[in-house]
């Protein structure tokens, strides 16, 4: 009886979290498309759907500026948060978010190379970014296996990889100044240059990767028990680690191809969700995607309205919030549950 009560209350708690996450996601979407230097009323938004995207100035702002940007923020936030949750679980390290261990930087380098090669298509950028992110995350994973994935080791590997990939990107930009993709706002992360041509390929790949991860959530939980225990349960741990990291790289890479090097969302959101919902993979992934999307979108809306008429890259807000959070995790007391 007592157990069933615990079980029920757990279900209710998770249900409430999904409700709150869903409402926040919807609120972020509505605010994202309606708030800005030119406020759009619900009537103007409905009018864009009813009369066509070119029917008025408001409809054009909605369809070609606000909607792609808002959707990109929602999708990228969800993707980076879910990628962070997966990477933290697979590497068993609470600091292992895509921005910190160099995964975003790997994707950024690949996007720079892609642009330098004259490839500007959305699919090409997303694929290049995925390859860069995957190479980085596999380098970290193999390094963690080889030298031990303690918190400190992983951060140092991240510092090294971030510096290396940053230097390589700078080299490309120095030698080919016309490659403007590594401009300052790309390094910080922002959504002002999002177009449907870049959004749709990245969104398709992100949705597929997230679907794949959700279908493997029990496997992610088993891997969290530790390599030997997971192997004892019949899992091919090497293969599954690679599959999980590949899907996480797909999420992070596609997000970077849209938003640039957006940091800390992959660290903060999974941590907060883990505290609220527990570490179970299904809810960790689902809620991280919901809250991550809402969080980045709300931050982006704040970034373009707080200092109007000036607009600051959303990455600056993320960094102001994320850096203290990172330090808090780094120095918090031991004895908390392992990932």
């Amino acid at each position: 009886m007592k157990n069933s009560k615990i079980f029920c209350s757990d279900k209710v708690r998770i249900g409430r979290l999904y409700l709150v996450g869903g409402l926040l996601f919807a609120a972020a979407l509505v605010l994202g498309v309606s708030v800005g230097s030119t406020p759009l009323s619900p009537g103007e938004v409905m009018g864009a759907f009813r009369d066509g995207f070119d029917s008025s100035a408001g409809a054009r702002i909605f369809a070609y500026v606000r909607l792609p940007r808002t959707l990109a923020a929602l999708i990228c936030g969800g993707a980076l948060a879910a990628a962070g949750a997966v990477i933290q679980n697979v590497l068993a390290n609470p600091l292992a978010s895509p921005g910190i261990i160099g995964v975003n930087a790997g994707a950024g380098l690949a996007v720079t190379v892609c642009t330098a090669l004259g490839l500007f298509g959305g699919w090409q950028m997303s694929l290049f970014a995925f390859v860069g992110a995957f190479a980085a995350v596999m380098a970290v994973s193999l390094g963690a296996k080889r030298w031990g994935g303690t918190r400190g080791t992983l951060i140092l590997m991240g510092v090294a990889l971030n510096s290396l990939f940053g230097a390589m990107s700078d080299t490309v930009v120095t030698l080919m100044p016309e490659v403007g993709v590594m401009r300052n706002d790309f390094r910080v992360g922002e959504f002002s240059a999002v177009t449907y041509g870049r959004l749709i390929p990245a969104a398709v790949m992100i949705v597929l990767a997230l679907g794949g991860l959700l279908s493997l959530h029990n496997g992610l939980d088993v891997l969290t028990l530790g390599e030997e225990t997971a192997a004892g349960l019949g899992m091919n741990t090497g293969l599954m680690r690679t599959v999980f990291l590949l899907l996480a790289a797909l999420l992070a890479g596609c997000a970077v191809s849209l938003a640039g090097l957006l940091s800390f969302v992959g660290l903060m959101v999974p941590h907060a969700v883990r505290r609220l919902s527990g570490g179970r993979g299904l809810h960790l992934l689902g809620l991280s995607a919901l809250f991550g999307g809402a969080f980045v979108c709300l931050c982006d809306t704040a970034a373009r309205t707080a200092f109007a008429p000036y607009e600051i890259p959303v990455g600056i807000i993320m960094a102001f919030l994320g850096a203290p959070f990172f330090l808090w995790i780094l120095f918090r007391r031991k004895g908390e549950p392992e990932i």
């Binding site: 157990n3 757990d10 029990n218 570490g279 179970r280």
Partner: protein
């Protein structure tokens, strides 16, 4: 029956265990003892096919393990490793993962799996803790949860790698009694142990290992009578005159 024929295994092509032949039968507790580095843990992993064989064979109920997949092996023999994390999940969720090898992609647990998990928790007397996070449990209770996970795995054999490590004496004794109960139900138990008197008291047979090889295998009283223990460990173990229990002889 688990049958090892001249088994060698190790890491990176370097053998850690060499030429081991032994038989483990259902309904029996076999204690594997040996000094540090003797290859005890490697032996268990090799039995489960978790490290590559460098020679010899392992047969599980007459079938060569090379012919079995990972899940099939996990359905036949549960393996509890030494290194266990404290996962960020509840007791019930942890135990339920014992059913993982019985499922195919996407590994969605069924009602029958939940019933098996709850039965395993009941057996280990941890059903009341089902909703508790693992991080709130003591080391001994966590150990019980992992054993419940192995029970939920529902295998005819269970391989324990140093199950009593980090446990206080009460939990150690309770765990050893649980092993005897499991053997009484017809399961084959193979357990790596460090405490020689405890291993001899609770095991039906003892496998003594040294430097990657099997020194001898026999009933505890036979092992105790011979000179193997002083030769391998540099200590002496004696049997209480009026019972089945053993103790170190202080000289």
């Amino acid at each position: 029956m688990i049958e090892l024929k001249n088994l060698s295994a190790g890491y990176g092509g370097n053998p850690v265990i060499r030429g081991i032949s032994a038989v483990f039968v259902p309904g029996e507790v076999v204690g594997v003892i040996g000094p540090n580095g003797a290859g005890k843990s490697t032996l268990l992993k090799a039995i489960r096919g978790m490290i590559p064989s460098l020679g010899g064979e392992v047969y599980l109920d007459g079938e060569h393990i090379a012919a079995m997949g990972r899940s099939e092996l996990a359905r036949r023999a549960a393996y509890l490793s030494q290194a266990r994390r404290c996962p960020d999940m509840t007791v019930e969720q942890t135990v339920l993962h014992g059913r993982f090898p019985h499922l195919r992609y996407p590994h969605t647990y069924r009602d029958a799996d939940r019933r098996m998990a709850r039965a395993a928790m009941e057996k280990m007397d941890i059903l009341a803790l089902a909703g508790r996070p693992m991080s709130t449990l003591s080391g001994g209770m966590r150990q019980k949860v992992y054993i419940a996970m192995a029970l939920a795995q529902d295998t005819p054999y269970i391989l324990f790698d140093e199950p009593t490590v980090h446990l206080d004496i009460t939990y150690q004794l309770a765990l050893m009694r649980m092993m005897r109960t499991l053997a009484g139900e017809g399961r084959g138990i193979v357990a790596v142990m460090h405490d020689l008197p405890m291993a001899m008291t609770f095991s039906d047979r003892i496998l003594v290992m040294q430097d990657g090889g099997a020194v001898c295998m026999g009933r505890p009283e036979e092992i105790c009578r011979g000179d193997v223990i002083p030769r391998v460990f540099g200590v002496t173990v004696e049997r209480f005159p009026d019972g089945k229990e053993y103790r170190y002889r202080m000289e």
